[in-house]
């Protein structure tokens, strides 16, 4: 029985010509090893074209003396060695001083904005955990700022911040009487707070969304057990909620930081090409240097410095938080 079976099997196996076997196995291997790379290729090429090439060009330009005189043929612009960088970080000279000012404004703005976004988002998410009537509706409403196109939303804020007919002055001054005269929000020192308000309004729903997702993963039993052991609400938040949210928060804060630090749309739509000094965020500052005053070389050098700074901060942050996580586990 078995012999016939074994005798039959090879007959079946050899029915395709034996010579074909080798190449097929080889194409199989090529396919197995090469296919992922092949599939990655379009993305890789696009990444190269969209991100890497402009970045390399930007770095090259940062070493060139590129102004309107050479913009037509930027390859021919004279090399300036480290001059653009020297000008950018010479904090006693006008360009460096302005860059430092704008950097400090951006730091203050980012810290406040990310902090407030996180605080409001987390508070809202914790609050929305309990089921109550209208929770779904409220949750949807919370996400409106996140869903609106940035331009439309910020332009609406521009109208509200208007000195003469704006809603903000109408409420603060006419209705509540909190100020003795209407204030300017889009020019002068108040512009910082106008910018912060819009940024927080725009950013907190994202924090809310992420924290809410994080909360869903905390087992209810933990709270029940804690309650049985006599832990109050605050203790539950401190001992269960916040530690459990840690990994979520780590990513959330990093992403919010990078987005806020680099935010261009909000200040640009609020203030136009030249922002008031108090709200001169670094992204607009670099845009101004490059495309308004046409110092493309210096603008590129500033961009490279900014990139280095963000890499440093992100790297440091990741190293710090992952060490904390390792220790915790």
């Amino acid at each position: 029985m078995t012999t016939t079976a074994e005798a039959e099997r090879p007959a079946v196996r050899t029915s395709p010509p034996g010579a074909d076997r080798g190449p097929r196995r080889r194409t199989g291997r090529i396919r197995r090893v090469g296919l992922p790379y092949l599939l990655l290729l379009p993305a890789l090429l696009l990444e190269l074209l969209v991100h890497l090439v402009p970045m390399v060009i930007g770095i090259v330009i940062s070493f060139k003396e590129l102004t309107q005189f050479y913009v037509r043929d930027w390859g021919a612009a004279p090399w300036s060695a480290l001059d653009n960088y020297r000008v950018s970080v010479d904090f006693d000279a006008p360009a460096g001083e302005a860059l430092l000012h704008s950097f400090l404004v951006t730091i203050a703005f980012t810290v406040l904005s990310v902090g407030l976004c996180w605080l409001i988002g987390t508070a809202a998410a914790v609050f929305m955990q309990d089921t109550f009537r209208g929770r779904g509706l409220l949750r949807a409403l919370f996400l409106v700022p996140y869903a609106l196109p940035v331009y439309a939303a910020v332009i609406t804020w521009v109208f509200m911040f208007q000195y003469d007919n704006g809603l903000v002055n109408h409420v603060l001054h006419d209705q509540l009487g909190l100020t003795d005269k209407p204030s300017f929000w889009l020019i002068g020192d108040n512009s910082f707070f106008a910018l912060l308000t819009v940024s927080v309004w725009k950013g907190w729903p994202f924090a809310f969304l992420i924290v809410m997702a994080g909360l869903q993963n905390i087992p209810r039993e933990l709270y029940e057990a804690a309650a049985l052991d006599g832990a109050g609400v605050w203790q539950q938040v401190r001992r269960i909620t916040l530690p459990s949210l840690r990994p979520v928060n780590q990513v959330l804060v990093l992403v919010l930081f990078l987005w806020t630090f680099n935010d261009f749309n909000t200040p640009f739509v609020l203030f136009g090409r030249s922002a008031p000094e108090a709200a001169d965020l670094i992204s607009v500052h670099i845009y101004h240097a490059s495309f308004v005053t046409w110092y493309f070389g210096i603008g590129s050098a500033m961009s490279v410095l900014l990139l280095l700074f963000l890499l440093l901060v992100t790297g440091g942050y990741l190293a710090l938080t992952s060490r904390g996580r390792r220790k915790a586990s």
Binding site: V53, D73, W74, F184, I187, G188, F291, W294
Partner: protein
């Protein structure tokens, strides 16, 4: 293996970067050709109340041109806020239009990029000669001593628009001719929530146009004779202070105007919220906002004493639009043909009437349509008392730097913070440091 891959990636990146450079380089050496003689691309600046209005004005004329020459013109109307950057991008990439509008104050800045076709005698001959154009308009077509980088298309000048009824109600019989008179009249007009004068404090270009005229009236200039930035002379400081003081100390401008940059002051004037407006070619705009021609009068912009004229009596910049040709056009002959068409007497009359501007072409200017009292003031100003903004390569940076400094000073004035000679000087000093080679 890994280093190989990295090297390969590096090589690809490098070759792409080089290719990109080569593209840029290719356009630079391309001196124009006649490779596609049947088409042209034209970027028109937004002149009318909207882009649609412009298309309605221009499209029939372009059709006429196509009928005459067989050349099809592809029109794109570009908003002002985008125009300079669009031109710069086109310059960098070499992928621009064949013919385009440039604000005449940018002529020298754009000339410096080397992207625009120079209008030498030979090129001018193709469109009927240089003599056809008004001198003051030719004065803002490029740096002095060089062939113009563009040809004048529409001319404009600032004038004082005033609301006749508000003047009559305040017992004022005629528009102010000097700044002292304007301030005195302004005190009578600024009451009951209405204000004497409107302006655009957050618009750097508007600021610079006025500051330039005030400086001229103080006998000062923002640039030295050899083209170096010089913003902090006593005359320029006094001029900028006088301008900002209209809000800060004279209080004839509403503080809210410090925030304006979207022509809100034109709307305020049309609605009767302000009695006066310093503007160029506002008629079409005012009428589209429901103000009848009889409601307002037009007078020359005030001077410090006497009547407008030359020297210290200058009361306007030479404003206007120029027509330029990109050097690397694929239709050199067609582009010249198109410029000839647009600057022909017939077209000059049609287009300048549509935009309530003045033709920079002498023979077209003589048309009866440009002899109305309103146009009379503009024509007179252009002929006698207007000066072109400095035609230096850094002009566009100058507009931004000084215009933005003045925006900051208006913000101070609006907030009630003092605007002193010292604070004006400090702001201008900072602006000067932003200029190239400061």
């Amino acid at each position: 293996m890994r280093s190989n891959r990295a090297a390969a990636a590096g090589a690809v990146t490098l070759s792409l970067a080089l290719a990109a450079t080569a593209c840029g380089g290719g356009s630079a050496t391309g001196g124009g050709s006649n490779d596609s003689p049947k088409t042209l691309t034209y970027w028109a600046s937004n002149q009318g109340a909207s882009i649609e209005v412009d298309k309605k004005v221009l499209q029939p004329e372009l059709a006429k041109f196509e009928k005459q020459t067989g050349i099809k013109v592809k029109l794109e109307v570009v908003p002002w806020s985008d125009l300079l950057n669009r031109i710069l991008t086109a310059t960098t990439s070499g992928q621009g239009p064949d013919v385009l509008n440039v604000g005449n104050t940018w002529s020298a800045s754009l000339q410096a990029t080397g992207a625009l076709l120079p209008w030498d005698a030979k090129n001018f001959d193709k469109i009927g000669g240089r003599d056809r154009f008004v001198d003051s308009a030719l004065g803002s077509t490029g740096a002095e001593g060089e062939d113009p980088a563009a040809v004048p298309l529409y001319s404009m000048a600032y004038a004082l628009y005033y609301n006749k009824k508000m003047f009559a109600d305040a017992g004022i019989s005629q528009p102010p001719a000097t700044w002292d008179e304007l301030v005195a009249d302004g005190k009578k007009l600024s009451k009951d929530g209405k204000w004497a004068l409107g302006m655009e404090g957050s618009n750097p270009s508007e600021n610079i146009h006025h500051a330039f005229v005030f400086a001229k009236q103080h006998g000062a200039d923002f640039f030295t004779a050899d083209g170096k930035a010089d913003f902090t002379g006593d005359g320029t400081v006094a001029a900028v202070k006088q301008y900002v003081d209209l809000m800060a100390t004279n209080k004839v401008i509403a503080p809210g105007n410090a925030e304006y940059a979207q022509n809100q002051s034109v709307s305020d004037f049309a609605k009767g919220k302000t009695a006066m407006l310093l503007w160029q070619s506002a008629s079409a705009n005012l009428e589209s906002q429901g103000m009848s021609k009889d409601d307002y009068g037009i007078a020359p912009v005030p001077v410090r004493s006497g009547t407008p004229g030359t020297g210290k009596q200058v009361n306007s910049m030479v404003a206007g639009i120029n027509l330029a040709v990109f050097k690397n056009t694929d239709n050199l002959d067609g582009a010249a043909e198109f410029v000839k068409f647009m600057t022909s007497d017939a077209e000059q009359k049609i287009l300048n009437k549509a935009y309530s501007t003045i033709p920079p072409v002498k023979s077209a200017q003589a048309d009866a349509a440009f002899a109305t009292p309103a146009n009379g003031v503009l024509k007179d100003t252009l002929a006698k008392s207007a000066v072109a903004l400095p035609q230096v390569a850094d002009e566009s940076q100058f507009e931004t730097a000084v215009g933005t400094a003045i925006k900051g000073l208006f913000a101070d004035a609006a907030a009630g913070d003092p605007v002193t000679t010292g604070s004006v000087k400090a702001a201008l000093q900072k602006a000067q440091q932003q200029m190239p080679a400061a």
